[in-house]
């Protein structure tokens, strides 16, 4: 009954409402979880709130603007977008521009603003792959043309990401592209083959770099080293446990008092769980569910292949980010560094997620 009721509502409305609701909750939680850190680091408890508010406004404007563009421009210039992504990822590795943080260089620093290129580049790659699959559609069942030629352009991205290193986004991109190939009709045997290749290459990556191994092990049993590798996960668990059903109340989290590093970023879901309780966690998950649900509705009714490909790419990428981020906070996956879309603090992520959602709305409007 619920489903038929939801089916009766225009998916664009569900999509827009859940997006705006989530980003406003995000803004609130960024403020709540960052005010103390902001006071400590910037002597202004509104520091992160102000910036995030600005990003949100900018993002919503971009989303509105994108929702009415002619998406043919995207399809036509798909190679250009591909190159923009590559250039951005190369810029990170330029020593004067790149900003190191926690052993990895993932940021470009321009004056006081910093940019996380992968947040933009991943959508650039999606646009490219969407059009690429569109062009190769008729020969999608051939292994070389359909599968290999789709994966090849991803390799420079992957290599550049691994140089940062950014293991989390590498996985994210690979899995998204993989899903896009599945949805564009590749043969099951080919898909299974790629799956094995991807799996084995990730396993070997983990095997080569022992610190990844350590991270992977730590999420399996965080209590083994509660002060070391298991620290973040346990502190996240503490947040969840403290939240119980109704939460400790907005602004009352004690875990954000530097116990949970990145409480306004990667671990913001834990702070939500602590302050708003299971009710709050459930509300966030339901809102994301509605977002994904309406996204799929638009995917299913897409009129052309390019739209279908790009919508599926964006929706799957967003879904994966949500799943990975929350799974990390609840100890189902190793710590990754993937932000929670619309909620986590960060201009690059927020603005370009909204940019991509704008594209989804534009593609949905596109008449064949």
């Amino acid at each position: 009954m619920l489903k038929s009721y939801l089916n009766s509502i225009e998916p664009r409305i569900i999509f827009i409402i859940s997006t705006i609701t989530l980003s406003i909750i995000g803004l609130l939680m960024v403020f709540s979880s960052s005010s103390i850190v902001a006071m400590e680091n910037h002597a202004d408890s509104f520091f992160y709130l102000k910036r995030q508010g600005l990003f949100l406004l900018l993002g919503l404007v971009i989303m509105g603007a994108c929702s009415s563009i002619n998406t043919n421009i995207l399809a036509k210039n798909y190679k250009f977008f591909y190159i923009i992504g590559i250039v951005l990822l190369i810029l990170v590795l330029v020593p004067i521009l790149g900003r190191k943080s926690g052993g990895a260089t993932r940021w470009i620093q321009v004056f006081s603003f910093s940019l996380q290129p992968i947040e933009i580049a991943k959508y650039m790659l999606l646009i490219f792959i969407a059009q690429h699959l569109n062009i190769k559609n008729t020969r999608i069942k051939e292994f070389k043309i359909g599968v290999v030629s789709t994966f090849l352009p991803c390799i420079p991205y992957i290599l550049l990401l691994l140089m940062q290193p950014d293991f989390g986004n590498t996985v994210l991109i690979c899995v998204t592209i993989f899903a896009m190939i599945i949805l564009s009709g590749a043969k099951l045997s080919h898909i299974f083959g790629i799956f094995l290749v991807l799996l084995s290459s990730f396993l070997s990556l983990i095997y080569i770099a022992p610190y990844r191994m350590k991270r992977v092990m730590s999420f399996l049993d965080p209590y083994e080293d509660p002060q070391g590798t298991g620290y973040q996960i346990i502190q996240s668990f503490v947040s969840f446990a403290k939240g119980k059903f109704f939460g400790v109340g907005l602004g009352n989290s004690s875990q954000k008092l530097f116990f949970l590093p990145q409480g306004y970023n990667d671990f913001i879901f834990s702070i939500i769980a602590e302050e708003l309780g299971f009710i709050g966690s459930l509300l966030i998950i339901i809102l994301f569910g509605l977002l994904i649900f309406s996204g799929f509705k638009m995917l299913e009714r897409a009129k052309d292949l390019f739209s279908r490909n790009l919508i599926s790419g964006i929706i799957i990428l967003t879904s994966l980010q949500i799943i990975i981020n929350i799974s990390v906070t609840i100890g189902l996956m190793p710590t990754k560094g993937v932000p929670l879309p619309l909620i986590s603090y960060g201009g690059s992520s927020l603005i370009f997620t909204l940019f991509a959602f704008g594209l989804v709305l534009a593609l949905d409007k596109r008449k064949n």
Binding site: G185, G243, K244, Q255, F259, I330, L332
Partner: protein, 630 residues
Amino acid sequence: MNSFIKEFKEKDSELRKRINLIKYCIFLFLIVITIKVFSLQLIYNEEPLKFSKIQTNPFQLLGNRGEIRDANGKILAVSVAYPSIHLNPREIKDKVYYAKILSKTLSLPREQVLKKLNKRKYFVWIKRLASHKEGDKILSLNLPGVGIKMEYKRDYPFGHLAGQVLGHTNLDQIGMEGLEYKFNNELAGSKKIITLTKDGKGKIITDNFSAIENPEDGSNVNLTIKSKYQFILEKEIARAVKKSKALRGYGIIINPNTGEIYAMGSYPFFNPNKYSEYEDLSKKRNLPAWNTFEPGSVMKSFLVASAIEEGVVNDKTIIDCEMGKRRIGKYIVHDVNKKGNLNISGVLNFSSNIGASKIIEKISNNKYYSFLKNLGFGSKTNIQLPGEAKGILINPEKWSQIQAANISFGQGMSVTSLQLAKALSIIANGGVNIEPYLIKSITNSKGEIIFEKKLNPGRRIISYTTSKKMRKLLKSVVEDGGGFKAQIEGVSVSGKTGTGQVATKGGYSKERFIVSFIGFAPSDSPQLVSVITIDYPKGERAYGGRWAAPVFKKTIEKILIDEEKVEKFVKAKDVPSFLGKAKREVIKIAKEKNLKVKIIGNGFVKKQSPKPGNIYQFQEEISLFLEPGI
């Protein structure tokens, strides 16, 4: 055409299946996540909360430890706040730079600092109880991640003065030795446990911190010790030990009428400020109460007292000292001064062993034993010090003739200096029992007296006549006999020397002697009793008369001269108040008023000793304890 459409439709339905598959996968994941979130928040939420408790630390507030003061209120032990420097390694990024700066400022090895910086902790002590100078430097460097916590440290302003009596505390201000140990419960401030919430960086986030009431400070222990006497005694003992190249020396000064211990010293010294630097634990021992030895001829004083008390000798008694050789069974008793007939005074003056051996034969063993027992030999004096020894006094049933002879001149039994001082006090004070004591009173932090030594009239041990006779006899020993080096110009002195043999495995050592002098002054109305012991002086003529008597003389002489000087200095000034004044101001006032001050700590004066309004003693040093202001 038809087939193409058909194929397209087939393909389309295939793709719809795939879309649904992925969609369901995603929603399945979301459901799994919801279940896990549910279980984390509402079902398995106890284990993680244990880790959360670490963050609300029970924090112990400790009242300040009380002071130990001398008889004039001068502070001998006090707790002063020092800066302890800690850091948060997780907050510090440039560890090499920090290691460089911190090792230089705090003069610590760089590797050690770096090791601490690399710990994956939020709180690490880098240097506890650093100097105020170091604390100020750290403060001025203003390094993020480095903090200062004021911690109290025990300070002994006079260094080794009465070090073995005072003992010391450990880093946590718990008494480990001496009075600090014995009176730990009284001195220690009360504890109060409060729960403090700290943030992840270790910062306390309790907002009503000032509202927390401080726990009560510990009580102050007031001693009978007079610093001046203690200082003179220690100085003279040290001088004698060095001059005689002895192993060690110790002494005690006591008021024979009350039992107040004015001074109690041991050399080599023990400076409780540096307690951790002493490997040889025996240096921490308060030897006058702890060490037992065979006292030798000093015991003849008690023998004669007993004989007079029993009426077995009088002024007319003549004893044949057999020209220095007496055979008892298969043993021969020797005298250094070979004499024939001697009266009692002569036996003491020439310290005749043969004379003593004949006197003990006149008293019954049982009677002499119970006499010694009454004087306090063979049992503890119950002075409140840890590790007091009781010595050895064998049951009289077991005394053979030669053993009795030995006991008559102080061999075959062992005593402590404290016991000698007590026994001599009874002989000197007119014959009544006294209890030596160190603790005059204990006052709590509010100034209320919670303990005060009450003097009870002592039990009579010997008659007043005997006491008077003994004063005279022992005065003669100093004036005409073996104790002549104890003579003080203008003051009559009574006393007795002793040279105790030291028992080793195969009999008595031919080299090692423990030499003593026991005495009192003035002879007619004794005010001070002192027992001086020098252990193992080197070289020929290792006699009590040679080494111990001069220590007695110089010590008592200086004390009495000093007292006189003070009396002359009657135009006494009042001690001004320095409380709350800054260091610079203190120095200025001291200069203006020509006062000697000793400044301990930094900042503002929190305590002073002697207290304002007290009479300023001649050349007295005023101790000022400073603490950084807020």
